[in-house]
Symmetry: C2
Amino acid sequence: MQFHHHGYVSGDPRVLPAEGTGVDRPVELPDEIDVLIVGSGPAGMLLAAQMSQFPGVTTRIIEKRDGRLVLGQADGIQPRSVETFQAFGFAERIIAEAYNIGWMNFWGPDPERPENIVRTARTADYAYDICEFPHLIVNQARVLDYFAEAAADGPGRILPDYGVEFTGLTVHDAGEHPVEVRVRHVAGPREGEERTIRAKYVVGCDGARSGVRDAIGRTHVGGISAHAWGVMDVLVNTDFPDWRTKCAINSEAGNILHIPREGGYLSRMYIDLGEVADDDNHEVRKTPIEAIIAKANAILHPYAIDVKEVAWHSVYEVGHRITDGFDDVDAGSTAAPRVFLTGDACHTHSAKAGQGMNVSMQDGFNIGWKLGAVLTGRSPESLLSTYGAERRPVAQQLIDFDREWSTLMARKPEEISDPQELATYYLATAEFPSGFMTQYTASMITGTDAHQGLATGFPLGKRFKSAEVVRVADGNVVHLGHHAKADGRWRVYAFGDESGAGVDAWAAAAEPLFARFTPTAADVDAVFDVKAVYRQAAEDLDVTCAPALFQPKTGPLGLTDWEKVYASGPSKWTAADVFADRGLSADGVVIVVRPDQYVAAILPLTAVDELAGFLEGAFLPAS
Amino acid sequence: MQFHHHGYVSGDPRVLPAEGTGVDRPVELPDEIDVLIVGSGPAGMLLAAQMSQFPGVTTRIIEKRDGRLVLGQADGIQPRSVETFQAFGFAERIIAEAYNIGWMNFWGPDPERPENIVRTARTADYAYDICEFPHLIVNQARVLDYFAEAAADGPGRILPDYGVEFTGLTVHDAGEHPVEVRVRHVAGPREGEERTIRAKYVVGCDGARSGVRDAIGRTHVGGISAHAWGVMDVLVNTDFPDWRTKCAINSEAGNILHIPREGGYLSRMYIDLGEVADDDNHEVRKTPIEAIIAKANAILHPYAIDVKEVAWHSVYEVGHRITDGFDDVDAGSTAAPRVFLTGDACHTHSAKAGQGMNVSMQDGFNIGWKLGAVLTGRSPESLLSTYGAERRPVAQQLIDFDREWSTLMARKPEEISDPQELATYYLATAEFPSGFMTQYTASMITGTDAHQGLATGFPLGKRFKSAEVVRVADGNVVHLGHHAKADGRWRVYAFGDESGAGVDAWAAAAEPLFARFTPTAADVDAVFDVKAVYRQAAEDLDVTCAPALFQPKTGPLGLTDWEKVYASGPSKWTAADVFADRGLSADGVVIVVRPDQYVAAILPLTAVDELAGFLEGAFLPAS
């Protein structure tokens, strides 16, 4: 964590100095704003936290609820989401608070006495095999709390405007603020009042029944299956030994997906309520909690739960829907979009794969920095078209995966030939539910894969997988990727050649290139945070001899930044060798990483012209 | 982290439900209180956080300053202190914020050109070799912020009474509240007002010029040396390559102890100002900052610092003083003490070994739970006499260590025969400055060492060194010691014999014993948190079959606690084997640990009578 950069600060360094619109931010929703976020769920709150890093942009987030979410439905947190939390500064706190999924157990009918369940398989969860972050379970309300804190503590000081309902919008052809948005105050002193505000961009993060989606004429395509599930968060006493372990339970009486929750006592159960008759007309949704508990006990036999408190429960029929467009621009048009949809507004599915909140957050992460880049003049408006192009395929993958997983979870015992099958499937597909399968294809912000061979462990278009390295200035082992905060900046890593001379030559050649796209009034690393990772051992390097590009003097005091020069392990504190572990070429390599942590370009140290070409496509020259 | 125990909670689980005096806590200082803490430094604030866990006790903390400390002088954080922060719930946050000392470098005169310094030795810092926590540098003000938060969020909801100055006290012979304390409001609406309040106990945490110490007639014994040091926290640009590494610099121009600080830019320098003339009369303390900087540059030659901002600076002469008694009871008297001294009020020394704040916090940790235990009727008043008996030898060790270290740091180059010598000394003595050398001797709360052979890795009287184990309920690898929060409870660990039958038999025999010292109205684990660690692999154990002692049903809902049954690794996630790593007997062993984490008793599983004898000495039967 870097601070004292603008002079000594005494208080919490997580609270950044207010800047721009964060200074004297008006309490009332202004008439004209740059970005309006509709809805304060996971996508919207992450987006608010991201926009708070662009204090030159006026961003507001409206929410019809009159305050903080008290009880959230989502709770599954992929490792990719924890990685994202790290970038927003709260991973260590939420990890301490959450349930860590270490294992998944599988239960099926006892072959001897099929009315009883027995444990049939046990598999380690995938998280730590895939990255350094765990797979967590924690209430969505707490995730939102942390993002709200990040939004409030960022330079933009963004707070949600609670009690404000979106009622409609019109996109005009011209004007500085072409989106006319109609809202209604539904709580607070202005309750009942209707207003019109003008925005440059609107992001609909308003859930499965999105009003923004309706307003731009997009439709949610798909349907619901004839299979119903009850879900409950309960505090119980029980003789079921796996109450604190994630389980898939398949019994003659039906299925349960059992997920322990944070805090050591609570668990969530998804309880199979079976097929729904064609003429049911959603009557199944009225199933009382007593019936759901009774069903759970039937499935758990010979074990039983004695429910002491029901924190939340619901009944739903599994649905799979995707929206026919993620922005307001029709196919074939080259216009830049003005309105975007994220999260449940564009993809809905079952809850059981624990994916919804996670994919929604990545929607928000994807659109956030792009809006910031366009509104601060760093990148052309065309950047915004990449949002839908990138996120729609991810939503489709999600729907497909969830359909397969929820079907597998709903099978009858006689449909299962091998009790290990579900465990095998769970592990084999782990990269997807971990959140690491997303791979963006070539675009103005994803370059050519011609040089992938120089860095086989950093696949182009996938998220940059962090690695432990040694910080030369202090010899500490740190995670290279964890230095990349969600501050809207791009990261460029120059990994060294054998002697290190190639990195130094690259730095000299590339420095004016980065300067071309960085405002002269800003810090030299305001747009590109460029770091070197040398092959030499840290103790053989002198940080003060590194090229100036890696020792910028920034901030009002012009202080040297000591945290841009790294060496590879292994060292006393880590076995990691990033060059070997990520398959990096002996000739060195440059990795360009987007603000949302995806690998955008892979280039030889000698290919500064090619780097220039990439940057010219993604950025506007600074004025 | 365990919560939802009293039913589902939606908000921050670190904020515990208010209880007792924390419900409707009066804003004004009451006329009668149980515990008055004087001073809100590290010892006082830790003590407040600890007392907040005893909401049945009325505790107030007065501080003459009118608000939060803005700029603290201490900054060195031993691993033992980080371990303590873990127990108070904020280790992960302060680690993320602090500077981690990975290495220490040594500089001396270049033999070729002795006017220049060169690096002469480099040693890894000791922290991770000694325990799982790092050795940190972070501003004292932030440490106090975190303890203040823990005090405010505990059930007692303790907030400091700022702007209240201690002016004197009288200990009366009788009465419920025998200590009459005189205070003056020195800030706020009641400024100038003088008051008398009555307390059962008073703890002086009021620093080197302690008024409480004077009031009870104790004196600070010792003196100051004729050697002066300048100290400054500065933001600079420099060509000195070790600006971000801890260094001991010995040059012809004098000595510097250089300590990087949190945030990536700031460093602290202790700069040798040389011998002070006999007739100096503290004139040296007026040395201007420009002279200190000039001296630093002379020592650093051929390197130089260009100071951009001085956050803080001071000049001091090294002093070593210890107070002649740590409470108000005279030697030879058997009376129970009513007034205690902690921290700088009883020991002062140089800052350079980075010990002061750490030892002070352990003073507070030591007295806190004892006051809680006596005031809640768990333990006899005689427990309070152990405070001075235990802490005074620790203070003496500290003084001795610091005198040796500060003398070594002040030598001239010609006094140093081996440039590696200081590095060797630094590593060889590492256990002391890490905070792990403290070992309490036999008393009513430290039993016999007759059974030390059953657990060679848990030395009697030293702090319980945590180890990774597997939590049976969920298969997660966790640190056994990290479950022990600073909640005033004792921990009892039953480490298993070969079959586990010995643990189960012990549990049956010991359960009524623990019940004897636990109020019937309280949870069964309110005083003793008893855990089992079996030798068997977690997957071979069924947590629901463990003895009831390890599965208590507690809280208003009578929910089963799943986090008291552990197994030893190694497992998929850890190589640790607590039985091998801590030298535990194949016959099993019981380890009794105090609320401040020190090993109080080591007993065979079969020695329930001996356990009874120990508990009878330390506890009162519950009414």
